[in-house]
Amino acid sequence: MAIGGRQRNHLSQAQAAWLLLLPFLTVYGAFLVYPFFRGIWISLHDWNLLAVAFNPDAREFVGLRNYERILWGRNIEWAALANPALQITGMIGFGFSAFLYWTNRASRATAIALGLAAVLLFVLPGFHPGEGGRWYDRRFWPTVGNTILFVGWTVPGVTLSSLVLAAALNRETRAMSVLRTLFFLSQVLSVTVVTLIWQIMFSPRQGLIANITEAFGGSPIVWLTDERFAMVAIVITTIWWSLGIAMILFLAGLQDISRDLYEAGALDNATGVRAFWYITLPNLKRTITLVIVLQIILHFQVFGQSHLMTNGGPNDTTQVLVRYVYQTAFRDSELGRASAMAVFLFVIMGSFSILQFIIGREEEN
């Protein structure tokens, strides 16, 4: 009887699990799941932010029209060589990934991912407005292109520089731990502070960079308003800002590598750069994948750097997707259209998350 009573007072394991998960699920549901589906719901409407605030009936269900308005156009045609540079790169990329797979240089998942990216690179740039046609939204695809360009420069930049830094700082001395802290410090700054610092650095009149160029007799670059340098400027800023986390991840990965491997390598005359190439890099493979995927997802959401440093300019060369979503929603009050763009961004980031999941599983196997 006593035992039975105790059992009655106890929760089963599943019940306990649900109870403990409840606070998390509530918050997760209320602040992530619900807004996400609500966003999709809004994207199916003609929804003026201000008008609906004053009159809830001011919205109109339009189905997929918002998606058509941002993604498509009138008389859109496809041609195999509408944008030769990108499409040929795509074809070469496809051949390359097939080659990697058949020669067993890349795993199946990596080859499929690479091949898929190459096919997209071949197919997507092929669409263009035909005779008398036009994109409904002339800024959307260039903005997507800018965002990809930003990610394409920032992610390798962050990965390479943080890897080199981590390898250099992976020693147990006081100086190294001070340096590690210093390099991590930039990460804790907010985007407003970071962009302010770099706006001053890049200023052609009083900036450090301009002063150095002038000291060597050059004329200063007007970084933020020159079409050729504006994107570079925000990439440099972002690399400086987001080195820290990647560096910490690499340090953790480095410390996981057994000392024995280096000792064995040293016997075979593999030290310094050779040891880094043949021992460190192969053992860091998982960390590198993790860092790259995390950075891709993070940097697709770039907003502050573009918004605060260049206002998306000059001539829209640094206009990025989140800033376009923001402007459409809050400046133009077109919430439905902005939500459709946000869903598009979600699909891009979601596919990278799935990719990471697949690669992670494959490595475990």
Binding site: L50, R134, P204, R205, T225, E227, P314, N315, F330, R331
Partner: protein, 426 residues
């Protein structure tokens, strides 16, 4: 003990008074930490307006005003989001050009019937000021100024280039050809740029081009039809790009850099608004600043008729505040206080809106005031539109593409035309 606590609470309530109203206020103009409550000594837009707000909070019985932190560049985005979330500030500033967007949706309180009781004399407002706050027969705000683009002039450089008349006033161009000629004279005499402006950040370059279009009796749209890809627009743009092409002006300076170039004596003329007149006057008096002989001129007429870009700042109350009579009355009192201090705000360099201030000696004696007295008569703006912000952005982008990235004038105007038409069609 319990009784003492209740007693203390009741006493506090009695002292603060049941009518104590705490109002939130949203504004741009920048931050000023130590503005104080003396409205007659502060300098610059941020400190002058904050001193007026602080004084209102201190002097109006039972009303305290809390200024919300907002940022210039994102001000309207913040205000729109606040309205959408149902928590707009109790009082906020806005431009004349935003009235169609906000009042058109019923966001703003119609103040017509309540202004007189609050001590605001509508008949004292200049006709253009009343017009600025009126929309569909209602009055949706209390106007605070007219502001416009001016030519800020460094007279030492103009003298060096021989561009000063017998009365000591600058000789300004009267045609695009003369503009180029004067710029060349400046370059030959001093090696410096004739004209600087923010062509790379805020839409000051847009306002310059718009002014030149209005001077040809043209506009960027007419009703629902965009009219940007026109000969008038081409003339306006090339009047400016000829300076860049000849190396007589630098299109890459942003707001801060162009202002610095002018203060450093590196450019003879800066195109900027009325809001900096008191600041430049103070800087010119500073021995460490290269600019010392400062003059303010009306925007010159390069084509057929005078025109310069202009707008108005005004104060509005959300319509939702009318549900709470006590708060609404408190907000009206703050608007009346700001209206009473129109002369203090005019110290910035802005033009006053009240006839009694415009005709006063104190106003006439403000620095440089007589030099740009012609501006009120040539003040213009684009036709009203709920998409004003987006349209300005299109123009700013395409014009910057011309002078910063070498896009051809024809392509840029055609693209601007198509995009503005899209916005008008939405």
């Amino acid at each position: 003990m319990k009784h003492i606590l209740i007693g203390a609470a009741l006493a506090t309530a009695a002292v603060t008074g049941a009518s104590a109203q705490e109002l939130t206020l949203g504004r741009f103009f920048g931050a000023c930490e130590d503005a104080g409550t003396d409205t007659s000594v502060s300098v610059g837009e941020a400190c002058i307006i904050q001193s007026i707000i602080n004084a209102a909070s201190a002097e109006i019985d039972g009303v305290t005003v809390d200024t919300l932190p907002t940022d210039w560049g994102n001000y309207y985005d913040q205000i729109i989001a606040a309205y959408a979330g149902g928590t707009p500030p109790d009082i906020h500033v806005l431009h004349r050009h935003r009235i169609p967007q906000f009042a058109g949706l019923g966001a703003l309180a119609d103040l017509s019937d309540d202004l007189a009781a609050a001590g605001i004399d509508v008949t004292d407002w200049a006709p253009a000021a009343l017009d600025a706050v009126s929309y569909n027969g209602g009055i949706y705000g209390v106007p605070m100024d007219f502001h416009a683009n001016l030519w800020h002039v460094n007279m030492d450089l103009m003298t060096a280039a021989g561009l000063v008349d017998d009365n000591g006033a600058p000789i300004l161009p009267s045609s695009p050809e003369e503009l180029l000629e004067h710029a060349q004279m400046m370059h030959d005499a001093t090696g410096l740029d004739y004209l600087a402006a923010d062509f790379a950040q805020f839409p000051i370059g847009v306002r310059l081009v718009l002014a030149l279009m209005w001077q040809q009796d043209a506009n960027i749209f007419d009703g629902d039809t965009a009219t940007i890809d026109t000969e008038a627009a081409r003339n306006s743009v090339t009047a400016i790009t000829q300076l860049f092409d000849a190396g007589l002006a630098n299109p890459q300076l942003n707001y801060a850099d162009s202002q610095q170039a002018f203060l450093n004596g590196e450019a003879a003329i800066l195109v900027n608004g009325t809001w900096v007149v008191d600041f430049y006057t103070a800087e010119a008096a500073n021995e460490d600043v290269a600019l010392s002989n400062y003059y303010v001129a009306d925007f010159p007429t390069l084509f057929d008729q005078g025109a310069t870009w202009a707008d108005s700042h005004m104060w509005a109350i959300p319509s939702s505040l009318q549900d709470n009579e006590a708060e609404y009355q408190a907000a009206l009192q703050v608007l009346a206080f700001i209206n009473d201090h129109n002369i203090d705000w005019a110290r910035t360099g802005h033009m006053a809106v009240r006839n009694s201030v415009l005709e006063s000696e104190a106003y006439a004696n403000l620095p440089h005031r007589s030099e740009y007295s012609g501006t009120a008569a040539i003040a213009r703006d684009t036709p009203p539109s709920a998409n004003y912000g987006a349209i300005q952005d299109v123009l700013n982008r395409e014009l910057q593409a011309i002078w910063l990235t070498g896009k051809s004038v024809d392509d840029a105007l055609a693209d601007a035309q198509a995009e503005v038409q899209d916005l008008l069609d939405r």
